[in-house]
């Protein structure tokens, strides 16, 4: 039995509007973390809120642990779904202490049980010393962990997290990511995690679902999504690919800079686009080269060069941090990837 099953989920905010969530289907096994990732406004947060019962779907159904919680005829309110929700702004109750916040979801249980559960949870997130504080006296990372403890305390079947790290500073975010993933794995929680940050999604998710325009473009393991993007959008969003124009020929794929092996069987002379990331491109300075450096971005550990080919095509390439070449240098660029590249048949878009 799947812990979460979502089928043909559709939601519109106005009857005539384009659906914000459009025929979305996916399922989750127990203990799995699924990251919903996509640009803002792609419908990932709405999907999460539909699962939580904070919005009503227009069609489709949602089942948690085999029980239908939303369909055309059924709508179980959020408090009866057995979920834990971690909000973007953490939403700690300002009038309650840390202890009372975590205990909020435990109403109706015995006092000793509440006491021990809350302290177990606070120990898990490393905040048992702050139980008597009020939320306004917590740092961003602390309130983040209290929010997590509060969501986990009632032992929910499913944990839903809506961009939980977006309100934290960048360095804090990296630290919290690791801590939170460890906690979720320790408690064997089943999690749906929403983020717009592709790197965060790759780190947090056992699987990823890439959203665009209310639909899932691709769903799969992080490595699979990164190496074999199913669509041009996924290739671009996950790892910022450039698209190198080319032509299928009997020897392979002919591009402006290299001849590449053909992985798909394509008709002769079919126009294609090859997704190349900055780590797939290498170049050497060459007076008679095929490209010109038009910009360099120093990133500390490495340099990113922006190259322009004769046709006007733009490519990016990584170089080590010691390799400093002035803008305007003519170079010879080539595809240096040691793995097959993703090739899209170019249709008249």
């Amino acid at each position: 039995m799947k812990t979460l099953e979502v089928q043909n989920l559709t939601k519109r905010f106005a009857p005539s509007a384009h659906p914000v969530v459009n025929q979305v289907c996916f399922a989750l096994e127990k203990g799995e973390i699924l990251a919903l990732v996509g640009p803002s406004g792609c419908g990932k947060t709405t999907t999460l809120r539909l699962i939580a019962g904070l919005e009503r779907p227009d069609s489709g159904f949602i089942a948690i642990n085999g029980r239908v919680v939303a369909s055309e005829t059924v709508f179980i309110p959020p408090e009866k779904r057995g979920i834990g929700f971690v909000f973007q702004d953490h939403a700690l109750f300002p009038h309650l202490t840390v202890f009372e916040n975590v205990a909020f979801g435990l109403q109706g249980r015995k006092r000793e049980e509440i006491q021990s559960t809350v302290f177990d949870m606070l120990r898990l997130v490393g905040l048992d010393s702050l139980a008597r504080r009020y939320p306004h006296a917590l740092s961003g990372g602390e309130s983040q962990r209290v929010a997590l403890a509060r969501a986990l305390a009632p032992r929910p079947v499913l944990v839903l997290m809506d961009e939980p790290f977006s309100s934290l500073d960048a360095d804090m975010r990296l630290e919290m990511r690791e801590q939170v993933r460890n906690i979720l794995k320790t408690t064997r929680s089943t999690v749906v995690f929403v983020t717009h940050d592709q790197e965060e999604a790759l780190f947090m998710g056992d699987r990823l679902a890439v959203f665009q325009n209310g639909q899932i473009e691709q769903i799969g393991a992080p490595e699979e999504i990164f190496h074999n993007p199913a669509t041009r959008f996924v290739a671009q969003f996950m790892g910022g690919s450039d698209f190198l124009g080319g032509m299928a020929c009997p020897q392979g794929i002919e591009t402006e800079i290299s001849l590449l092996p053909q992985t798909h069987s394509l008709p002769n002379a079919a126009p294609v686009e090859v997704a190349v990331r900055a780590d797939d491109i290498d170049f050497i300075p060459d007076e008679t080269g095929n490209a010109v450096i038009i910009a360099r971005f120093f990133r500390g550990a490495f340099n990113v060069y922006r190259l322009q080919l004769a046709s006007g095509q733009i490519l990016h390439a990584f170089k080590e941090h010691t390799c400093l070449l002035p803008v305007g240098t003519r170079v010879r660029a080539r595809v240096s990837a040691g793995h097959p590249l993703t090739i899209f048949h170019k249709t008249d878009r």
Binding site: P78, E79, F85, A91, F93, G105, L160
Partner: protein, 513 residues
């Protein structure tokens, strides 16, 4: 909310054409001129005084700014008609305290300007209404980011140019809001203009209702008055547009004060004069008379009569009607505010706007429409104190709606959602999360309604059952009969009782922390 308003218009339109004819020929134009002149002068006057005082206490190194802030805001606890009573007793040509003193000093009667009429009415209204503008512009001065000034200076503007090009334009929304508040209050003001014998729509309607009992003429005048008020309301919404320049970001810090230098003493004198006129002199006079009243056995007996005419009874009547009105207004405002903040749509915003209409209906008009409506349709409530409470609720609903809206608006929706996902039903969420968190905001709304209801005069006078006296009514009746000293303890008490909710409200403001 809409029923009284629509009803008044219907009555006005349905009035006999001859009545219209008569009024158009004789009174309306003069009343219109009078009302507009007073409104314009008072609005401009309060803007100048209010912004000036706010600038001095917020943006300069005026000594004792913190104390001045309180003293400049507290006149709100003194209803303008009490100011007018004091003005008259101090200045009236025969028997006034100042003319008498002058006569005693110089041995002959010194001619002084007439204490009644346009000038006096404008003076009194400005003196007791400028705190509205003062509070709004003070808050705006305060919320303005110091960086704005720094940015303007770095772009080559002098401090003088900055004041006109940056500071003042950013103040515009608050100034408009303040001007509207004052203008609508002037339209609704009855006590002051009646005492100082300057006829406006409000006092004319009151006279029609009270003396001649000509409901048809009163309806027509009310229709015109409400149209005028609605026009103001509409103009404010139109000019305000969507512009709400609030900039209280996390890294906000106040602009550095402008050094006054040699202007320090004159500035101090001006502020002290303003505070004297609108706070110290009224308080001193009231306190003196109250002491006199206590030491004069005859007056004391008059003041502290027992039974339904007793002093305790006036206080009780004032308190319970105002408190009940506050409770009702806040309770009724909750669903409206809830809908307009949580589910913003054309319909819910229209509902919230509709509740603002109360601002535009002066007390006399509310009284008139309630008299007409209840007399005809719900007569068992007619001539009960509940009618007064209903009038207060209708008139002061906008304040409650605004307070509730801001309280709910500050509450993040995710808090309620968090409660739902943690197993609470929507009703449990309301009582365990929402209400505890918005309670301070609701209390503030209630305090505001309580305060303004306590001071309300014309509707109370017109709607009260015979023998039902509140503090405001008693002050008014004693004063208009000439028993000023007798009225003083009640007036002082009214001011002190009003000062309590007022100071609670002021303490919530950033300016008074």
């Amino acid at each position: 909310m809409a029923i009284p308003l629509v009803y008044i218009f219907l009555r006005a339109l349905g009035a006999h054409p001859e009545d219209w004819q008569r009024l158009l020929q004789t009174r309306i134009w003069r009343l219109m001129g009078n009302t507009l002149a007073l409104t314009t002068v008072v609005t401009c006057g309060t803007l100048v005084v209010g912004v000036g005082m706010a600038w001095l206490t917020e943006r300069t190194d005026l000594p004792g700014r913190k104390a001045w802030r309180w003293m400049l805001a507290l006149p709100l606890a003194i209803p303008p008609y009490i100011g007018a009573i004091l003005h008259l007793t101090l200045l009236r040509p025969r028997g006034g305290i100042i003319p008498q003193w002058l006569e005693g000093t110089f041995g002959f009667s010194v001619p002084i300007p007439s204490p009644v009429g346009f000038g006096s009415a404008a003076f009194i209204l400005i003196a007791f209404m400028f705190p509205y503008v003062y509070l709004l512009s003070g808050a705006a001065f305060r919320s303005q980011h110091a960086r704005l000034n720094e940015a303007a200076r770095s772009l080559g503007r002098t401090p003088w140019q900055i004041f006109w090009q940056v500071t003042l334009p950013a103040l515009r929304p608050s100034l408009l809001a303040g001007a509207l508040l004052v203008a609508l209050d002037v339209l609704a003001e009855y006590g002051t203009v009646a005492l100082l014998r300057y006829e406006t729509f409000s006092s004319a309607i009151f006279a029609q209702l009270y003396g001649r009992y000509d409901r048809s003429a009163a309806s027509i005048l009310s229709g015109v008055l409400v149209s005028l008020a609605t026009l103001f309301l509409w103009a404010e919404i139109k000019f305000q547009g969507q512009a709400r320049f609030t900039q209280m970001e996390g890294n906000w810090h106040p602009a550095p004060p402008t050094p006054l230098g040699g202007w320090r003493l004159p500035a101090l004198l001006i502020v002290a004069m303003m505070v004297s006129i609108s706070l110290f002199i009224p308080l001193i006079v009231l306190v003196t008379w109250s002491i006199q009243a206590v030491f004069d056995p005859q007056t004391l007996a008059q003041v502290f009569r027992t039974g339904s005419q007793g002093f305790a009874n006036f206080i009780w009547n004032s308190l319970w009607t105002s408190a009940l009105a506050a409770l009702l207004a806040v309770t009724l405002s909750l669903p409206v505010a809830w809908l307009s903040t949580r589910y913003p749509s054309h319909l819910t915003r229209f509902l919230a706007r509709l509740c603002q209409v109360g601002y535009a209906i002066p007390g006399v008009v509310i009284a008139l429409s309630l008299v007409l409506l209840f007399n005809r349709y719900i007569s068992f409530l007619y001539a009960t104190p509940l009618l007064i409470v209903i009038a207060y609720v209708l008139r002061h609903m906008p304040q409650a709606v605004r307070a509730s809206e801001s309280a709910i608006g500050q509450l993040s929706a995710s808090l309620e959602e968090a409660s739902r996902t943690l197993g609470r039903t929507s009703l449990q969420t309301l009582f365990q999360v929402t209400l505890p968190l918005i309670a301070p905001g609701l209390l503030a709304g209630g305090a505001l309604v309580f305060l303004t209801s306590l001071k309300e005069l014309p509707a109370t006078l017109l709607l009260r059952p015979a023998g039902f006296d509140t503090l405001a009514v008693r002050v008014w009746i004693w004063a208009s009969d000439g028993f000023y000293i007798q009225a003083a303890p009640a007036a002082l008490l009214l001011v002190l009782v009003s000062a309590l909710p007022l100071s609670f409200l002021l303490r919530r403001e950033q300016m008074f922390r």
